[in-house]
Amino acid sequence: MNPDEVLCLEQVEKDFGNFTALAQVNLRVSRGTFVLLLGANGAGKSTLLRLLAGLSKPTRGRVLVAGAEPNYTPAARSAVGLLSHSTLLYDDLSARENLRFTARLYGLAAPEKRIDQALDAAGLGERQHHRVRTFSRGMKQRLALARATLHRPSLLLFDEPYTGLDQRASAALSQQLIQLKERGSTSVLVTHNLEEAVHLADRLVILRRGRVGYDAPWSGGSTAELGSLYEQHLG
């Protein structure tokens, strides 16, 4: 694996019984790249993200994140931050308690200072002691992003992060993702929200029935152009 590469998939296949969710997926992503991963429902996008997060093992092939296999190597999982349509937050804990739990799991040094910074960046400093159950969807997603980035991962995985967000909250989330991109994070974004994604991506991967149907740099363009390209390769 090239030292500049954050993730590498070699001939990855994933079966669920007789159903092949992913077949012969090869992907190499360099540091600082923002990959937009598109595909129809059931194309294998979420399965691919689960493999990258170490939540699932490939049936065949190899998944490497920062040089190690995330499912077998706990330390490799610390290189990954995960944000999904579910918040991955405990509703009965406060915002600070949720982040403190994450800090403990990741063994972070000086956790309280980092938590203060993360809460401020998420605009939740005043609500830090309130239970997450009382938060709006937008606030929950801001906290979820703070949780996903608290340990400063090398690779960020976003699985439909715009789900359930209104226009304003979606724009705010995009703004945060742009800031992360500017700071050099490597990201893989799965979304159907092309309007938001079009400004973020610099590489486009389209999955078609578990296989990579399109993989090319995205040098920017309109939402219509992106939509048209997506339709062409949807199959």
Binding site: R50, A75, S84, S86, L93, A121, Q176
Partner: protein
């Protein structure tokens, strides 16, 4: 927002015991906020004892005949309530994914969860004991120490196997039905040993007579804790 460039790609793995403690502390904190699990378990045990109190003459000889069975039936079914809660909070917002994606051993997650179940069950047992003594007109002084030993071993065995099966059933639609169906046959030796030992304690038998039962419980706890530690990773894997 945190920068992603000021840190090496691979972080350090959290220590096994530190991770288990983190999971335990989180569960205890959530329980402190809601008091859902413990209140349900305590309420169920007290209700069971009350119903038996009205249904039978619980004093005198009944202590030896049905007392241990009443007590352990209440504990086993209360533990099922607790076990259902073990992974409910993890399922709510897919928190289990965040837990399993963290750089910690999955065995540590199991251990933290198991320790939580053990603590909750021990608290329930201790709170139920004075009420049991009240209903059975029992003076506890003579029995207290050996009873606490059996309670600890019984709770340990139930938590060790129960936590694994709670994880196994957490993704199933009929988990409320399947958990007792799968778990109760597995813990039958535990229930038999606990009821037998408790009966002998109430009969004030020589401790040497119930030591074999305690040994069975101890071996069962160690064996199934070790097995569950190994199997937990496979159980939570999709």
């Amino acid at each position: 927002m945190s920068s992603t460039l000021d840190r090496p790609a691979l972080g350090e793995e959290r220590g096994f015991w530190g991770a288990a403690m983190a999971v335990l502390r989180k569960d205890l904190l959530a329980e402190w906020h809601t008091r859902e699990r413990l209140s349900t378990m305590v309420f169920f045990v007290l209700l069971t004892l009350l119903v038996f109190n009205f249904s039978f003459e619980l004093g005198g000889a009944a202590l030896h005949q049905i007392g241990p069975g009443v007590l352990w039936s209440a504990f086993v079914f209360a533990s099922l309530f607790g076990l259902h809660h073990t992974f409910a909070a993890e399922q709510e917002n897919n928190c289990l994914d965040a837990l399993l994606a963290a750089p910690v051993s999955r065995g540590a997650v199991y251990l933290g969860k198991m320790a939580g179940n053990l603590l909750f069950l021990l608290v329930v047992e201790l709170l139920a004991l004075p009420f049991f003594a009240l209903f059975f007109n029992l003076s506890l002084e003579a029995y207290l120490l050996p009873l606490l030993g059996v309670f600890a071993l019984g709770a340990g065995c139930l938590s060790a196997v129960g936590t694994l099966f709670a994880a196994l059933c957490s993704n199933l639609r009929l988990r409320e039905l399947l958990l007792p169906l799968l778990l109760l046959p597995m813990v039958a030796p535990v229930i038999i040993s606990c009821v037998g030992t408790t009966a002998m304690i109430f009969q004030e038998r020589n401790p040497e007579e119930y030591f074999p039962y305690l040994r069975i419980l101890g071996v069962y706890w160690v064996l199934f804790s070790a097995l569950s530690l190994i199997l937990f990773d496979h159980v939570v894997e999709e």
